[in-house]
Symmetry: C2
Subunit: 137 residues, 2 copies
């Protein structure tokens, strides 16, 4: 039931890309790593994974880097998390060796998780990032 560091790194990177989305030019991995405190060599693999999932575009060569493939208001936390971890059904005990009696319960959990993550848009996070002192209880 835990969120991996890899997943948080992905979200931080996506946040950084969202903040620079309007400019239109690519952001290189080194910059993202520095700005968001992510191990640089590790981040590259995460960005490539995000790219394969279609959340990120890349530009090769000098002055290259990464950009969001979609506008931040069309990307949800669910998209990012599943891009990194794979489908949530695979993380819950819903496979062949799982208990049939518990399956409906885990399905409901999966649905709840999915819907709460789908409600969180990347642009919301980015906008809150501008107002530095916000507190959620």
């Amino acid at each position: 039931m835990r969120i991996s560091a890899r997943c948080e790194y992905a979200c931080r990177a996506m946040l950084e890309l969202a903040l620079r989305f309007q400019s239109g030019d690519p952001v290189n991995s080194t910059l993202i790593a520095e700005r968001r405190g992510i191990p640089e060599k590790y981040l590259v693999h995460i960005l490539l994974q995000l790219k394969r999932s279609g959340l990120v575009q890349s530009v090769r060569g000098a002055q290259g880097g990464y950009l969001l493939a979609q506008a931040p208001n069309t990307v949800t936390l669910y998209d990012i998390v599943t891009a990194i971890d794979g489908p949530i059904e695979d993380q819950l005990p819903l496979g062949d060796d799982a208990s049939a009696e518990l399956r409906p319960a885990w399905n409901r959990v999966a649905q709840g998780l999915k819907s709460s993550m789908q409600k969180i848009l990347l642009n919301e996070i980015a906008e809150n990032a501008d107002k530095p002192d916000m507190y959620y209880i």
Copy 2:
């Protein structure tokens, strides 16, 4: 974002205890392990953990075993999962080294997860366990 086998085992064990709750007499670990397909020696540690969290009572000695400490309709999936994995806040990136910008997002996820798990009662699972052919989409 995944549910450990340990956690599923705990739920299976709780389900078995719920089904035998009315009889009032303790169920030994061997029986639970056989009935629910759980490695026996592993299960013991899980049961003790559930006991420490106050979900389960135990009776030592011959004819001893384990019983639910509360009625099945007062136990939620959330209770079981947090008994095994600890508080969900500890599983999400909400610690000191976490990104402040993402914190509100993870908090909302935690709340969503918590509330969806709190809606699932152990007795509901147990009742569905009687009707063998139920499908959830």
